[in-house]
């Protein structure tokens, strides 16, 4: 993606293992990630363990020249040698038996190992705020699922939008949930695939409702562009055995703090809807 443009931008935010770059030309965020991070849309994974030591500062200028990407004079990445990675989701299985089984396993596993605090209810929520938050998340996802199953997309739109920006964390739980849901809605040959435009409609309303980093993830997910670990998980759910499922599910659960769990629950919701609409559940 970086390959074609002469991206000129500035450093938007820095973390231990990733740096986000705001591109002036298209307004999108691009990510430079250390090698512990999986491939993802708009993401360049470099062969380095930590980005912290580079002392890259916010608003450092970023330039692409000839075949190099330069961040100030602190980091030079030769991009002519990078391998292009493309986000491609698998097709919906014609035989959904495996998927059904895996769906149950996945739910159990998340129940047991998922991180509470976001979509997964924190039973021991200590504060009024926490309780209220879970309540709202729960209610709104229920309403959304309800409308999706009836294929009343116009009604669903309202509920989906009401999830954006809701929840703790850098990427609010509601957003993460939608990333998971959108992923499932972008699976070709799936019953919901024909309503994929729903995702882009939601995103159109998302811009001001959440922060830029989370918005980018939503925007990409709305057209089926998600991180490699999510794609792997979808693959395992559709076609894998239990021994394939658990490791790939674990990888997703480990994203962020509660983000991974929220994404996984979004996937569960989307899969459930797909199966039900397809009359298989």
């Amino acid at each position: 993606m970086i390959n074609n443009s002469s991206l000129v931008g500035y450093v938007h935010s820095t973390f231990k293992r990733t740096i986000n770059i705001h591109c002036v030309e298209d307004g999108e965020l691009y990510t430079i990630a250390s090698r512990q991070i999986d491939n993802g849309p708009n993401t360049l994974v470099i062969h380095s363990d930590s980005l912290e030591e580079l002392n890259i500062d916010l608003n450092d200028p970023v330039v692409v020249k000839n075949t190099e990407l330069l961040i100030s004079n602190k980091l030079t990445i030769p991009i002519d040698r990078t391998k292009l990675w493309e986000s491609i989701l698998p097709e919906f299985p014609t035989n959904a038996e495996k998927a059904k089984k895996n769906l149950m396993r996945m739910k159990e596993y998340i129940d047991f190992h998922g991180k509470a605090g976001g979509m997964k209810k924190n039973i021991a929520a200590q504060s009024l705020y926490g309780t209220e938050m879970s309540k709202m998340l729960e209610e709104r996802t229920r309403l959304l699922l309800h409308e999706l199953l009836k294929i009343r997309m116009a009604n669903g739109l309202h509920h989906a939008v009401s999830l954006i920006g809701l929840g703790p964390g850098l990427t609010p739980s509601g957003d993460d949930f939608l990333v998971g849901l959108f992923t499932m809605m972008n699976v070709r040959e799936s019953p919901l695939y024909s309503h994929q435009s729903f995702c882009t409609e939601v995103v159109e309303k998302a811009k001001t409702l959440t922060n830029e980093i989370s918005y980018m993830a939503l925007k990409k997910a709305s057209v089926g562009k998600v991180r490699e670990s999510i794609i792997q998980l979808v693959n395992s759910v559709f076609y894998g055995e239990e021994r394939d499922l658990n490791p790939s599910l674990n990888k997703v659960l480990n994203i962020g703090s509660s983000s991974g769990t929220d994404i996984a629950l979004g996937l569960v919701c989307g899969l459930e809807a797909n199966l039900k609409i397809g009359g298989q559940l």
Partner: protein, 514 residues
């Protein structure tokens, strides 16, 4: 119960740290509830539902981080904020450097075994002493200080030479070592071209052009302006060339200086002959034949030097935009100027930039005056009064006594500009604006108001005032090159794309009746 909130605009923390902060914040004594979250509309709604939405939070944007604290008293809230702030900053303590302070180079060098270079920028009276200490402690030296006697310089350079160390300076303003810009230097790409320069802005200019042409700098060694004088004998330049010759990362060597003293020139040419790597030589106003005989590549001007260097380093010539002179523009400007408007006034903050433009003018005109003219007949009688074609280096000692360098403080040059702009015999005023580390944060912006005013006054008098501006910098510099250029263009200033082009354009604008 008191609810208070603070907003940290555009603050991003990774989720894991946010969560742990949030958990810790809730454990602070006296805190009923603490929320640390992104201020999205939905999160605000939740806060509203539980009665924790304050007006401060309401106004926060979704990219802002908010901290809301609910405690029994206002005081407890305040305390909590202080402690939460500590939690935030604690996260950063690992990167903060140790607080140990040192007073002498020796004690610092002793305690920091990895120290390898001393930058010395103290009053010239004390600088040699500090440099000696540094060399004795096996530190390479970059001496920014000026007003150091030539005897001290020779002694220090001999000591450094014996010990195999760099002694850059005195009066060395620019260097790039291991891709780190020292003092006044620009942020450029790392690459395979090594520079040894006796002139600060000359080296800056060539490094910036190399960067623009897609090349990069392996090392840029400064020698100080007197290194190639008879007395000093080019000690630093010779050692610098040797080091670059041995440096694996360097493929091409560029030398930049005023013409050396004859005996030194001989030494330099001799070493060029021995070099296995191509050597590009830009001696401002220097002699081409001798350099060629020694097997060097002669460049008459800065851009030419940079271009030769990148081509020798293997760049594809067809892909380089060489930025040829804009001939139609020259024609256009000539028609705007009246026959009386025939002189160039060059007002420079960079010495070599001044020198380069002056030499360009001297090729076509005899009556070129300057405060840095080598020929005493053409030295300005009064540095404050221009005559015919005049080029002023405001960085020269006589202008900087007791004042900051014009790259930092534009006031002296600004006052002179106002005078020159009023002179009806002036055809063009040419100025440089130096970006990079160490330089003024907005050099163009500082002088812009007087430029616009002068333009207006000239227009009112029915006279065209032609101004050429050259911005020395890269898009990686701390200042925005693009913004600086835009400011010039918006004020009707002709933008030159290089020091070389600035000099040539100025000259061509006022050439009459060819």
């Amino acid at each position: 119960m008191t609810v208070q909130a603070i907003v940290k605009p555009n603050t991003y923390f990774d989720s894991v740290s946010l969560m742990s902060l949030s958990t810790k914040a809730n454990q602070i004594e006296g805190v009923e509830q603490a929320i640390i979250a992104m201020a999205t509309e939905m999160n605000k709604e939740v806060m509203k539902n539980v009665g924790l939405l304050t007006s401060v939070v309401e106004e926060a944007k979704s990219s802002d981080l908010v901290i809301v604290v609910n405690a029994a008293t206002e005081e407890l809230c305040e305390n909590a904020f202080i402690m939460i702030d500590e939690l935030f900053t604690k996260k950063n303590t690992s990167t903060s450097k140790s607080k140990v302070k040192y007073s002498t180079i020796s004690s610092a060098a002793e305690s920091i075994p990895d120290a390898n270079l001393a930058v010395i920028a103290v009053n010239g009276a004390y600088a040699p002493r500090e440099a000696r200490k540094a060399l004795e402690n096996n530190l390479h030296v970059m001496m920014f200080s000026d007003n150091v006697s030539i005897e001290d310089e020779i002694e220090l350079k001999k000591l450094a030479h014996e010990k195999g160390l760099l002694m850059m300076g005195p009066d060395c303003g620019t260097a790039i070592i291991g891709n780190v810009a020292l003092c006044f230097a620009n942020a450029v790409r790392k690459g395979s071209i090594g520079i040894v320069g006796a002139s600060g802005t000359g080296s800056q200019e060539v490094s910036v052009r190399i960067h623009e042409f897609g090349g990069g700098i392996s090392q840029m060694i400064g020698t100080g302006g007197r290194d190639l004088k008879e007395e000093v004998g080019g000690i630093m330049m010779l050692d610098g060339i040797k080091a670059l010759e041995e440096d694996e990362a360097t493929k091409v060597i560029v030398l930049i200086s005023k013409p050396p003293a004859p005996s030194v020139e001989e030494k330099v040419l001799a070493i060029i002959k021995q070099c296995t790597k191509p050597v590009v030589v830009w001696f401002v106003g220097g002699n081409e034949e001798k350099v060629k005989q020694a097997g060097g590549h002669f460049a008459k001007m800065s851009k030419e030097a940079a271009l030769k260097a990148v081509l020798l380093a293997g760049a594809d010539e067809s892909k380089i935009n060489k930025r040829a002179l804009n001939i139609p523009l020259i024609e256009e400007v000539r028609t705007k100027l009246t026959p009386e408007q025939k002189y160039i006034r060059g007002l420079f903050s960079g010495g070599t930039l001044c020198d380069e433009a002056m030499h360009a003018a001297m090729e076509k005109f005899d009556n070129v005056y300057s405060n840095i003219q080598r020929d005493p007949n053409y030295r300005l009688n009064d540095k404050n009064v221009s005559q015919e074609h005049t080029f002023i280096d405001f960085g020269d000692d006589e202008f900087t006594q007791g004042k900051p360098h014009p790259m930092i403080d534009p006031s002296t040059r600004m006052a002179r500009f106002i005078e020159e702009a009023k002179d009806p015999s002036v055809g063009v005023i040419v100025m440089d604006f130096v970006l990079g580390y160490g330089a003024h944060e907005d050099p163009v912006g500082a002088i812009l108001p007087v430029i616009m005013e002068a333009k207006q006054n000239a227009e009112d008098e029915g006279r065209h005032l032609e101004i050429i501006g050259y911005v020395l910098g890269t898009e990686l510099d701390p200042q925005s090159l693009e913004e600086q250029v835009e400011k010039l263009l918006a004020a009707g200033v002709t933008h030159a794309s290089s020091s070389q082009n600035a000099g040539l354009l100025a000259r061509e604008f006022v050439v009459k009746g060819e």
